[in-house]
Symmetry: C2
Subunit: 153 residues, 2 copies
DNA sequence: AACATACTTGACTATTTTAGTCAAGTATCG
DNA sequence: CGATACTTGACTAAAATAGTCAAGTATGTT
């Protein structure tokens, strides 16, 4: 498991837009330079964010992208779903040698574990907003810290 | 993000071994049949579990694999590290256009979020034992349930 | 000892996904 | 009208995943 480049880049890009929220739009070329992401890739990623309604675009000279909503109202979960399609792919029924039903259906101790992991990860990402990411200091995600602290040993 | 076939298969295989813990060893061919995993792939996966010390092998006729320890003493985290190498790959410094240091180092609101996700996932897997997986009823992982219930909204 | 069973090793291949590129557009501003 | 900048969709290269294969070595049984 890992964070893909699309996820990492899209997150940097939208956080960057968050910093100028309320001010002028930022062109993809400027974003490409300041975030060190290939320009065509920036285009592709911002388009996905736009289609998901997270950012808006302005064409023509002086155009570019800007957030559709304030940073407190955009979650990392929304960003990930916009760029990746789904955050955590459902595995049930996938590695079952052609059969459609879950291999360990009925009496299954395994698939609930994958499903709960999926829920855990989605809730984690949904609990983080762009505003949190913009705080720009290590360990700034209080909710996450609290959650980790409470995992039973 | 997803569960890979290696992870899913290895988990099914070692849970299968857990069910006959204390009894005779199980051959890779039998495991292949009962879990619907290609025989050569079973070999490969069990070898990794063996090298990690989670299972032991017995050669010759009547041989096969068996758990090295009781199911309560083997965690899913250990299984995943054995088959995947690492559970969650560190992304810091990876998408940085050749630079070695983290792109958003110093004032970074993003990388702590990836790192905490990694910690969250590892702790999740480390909290689940084979014994939990063998309980064979949905929603059997009490600790996980508790953890999910406590995620702040 | 011979033979069957079954693990061991490492390399090899095919498929899919990821990461990024490219070209030919369309809309807007000055 | 021309420069700026988003839009669309297809395309390619590299890497990871998902297996496969062949040639072993060790053990138990007859």
């Amino acid at each position: 498991m890992k964070i893909t480049s699309s996820t990492e880049y899209a997150t940097r890009l939208i956080v960057n837009l968050g910093r100028t929220f309320g001010a002028a739009a930022v062109s993809t070329e400027k974003l490409s330079e300041s975030e060190n992401v290939p320009a065509d890739y920036v285009n592709q990623l911002l388009l996905r964010l736009k289609r998901a309604g997270l950012v808006q675009s302005h064409r023509g000279s002086g155009g570019g992208y800007s957030l559709s909503r304030s940073p407190e109202k955009i979650t990392l979960g929304e960003v990930l779903r916009a760029v990746e399609g789904t955050i955590f792919e459902d595995v049930c029924g996938k590695y079952n040698d052609g059969r459609k039903d879950c291999h360990h259906q009925g009496h299954c101790g395994i698939s609930p574990v994958w499903q709960k992991l999926a829920a855990l990860i989605e809730q984690y990402f949904d609990s983080i907003t762009l505003a949190h990411l913009m705080e720009e200091k290590a360990g700034s995600c209080g909710k996450v810290e609290a959650m980790l602290g409470r995992i039973p040993q």
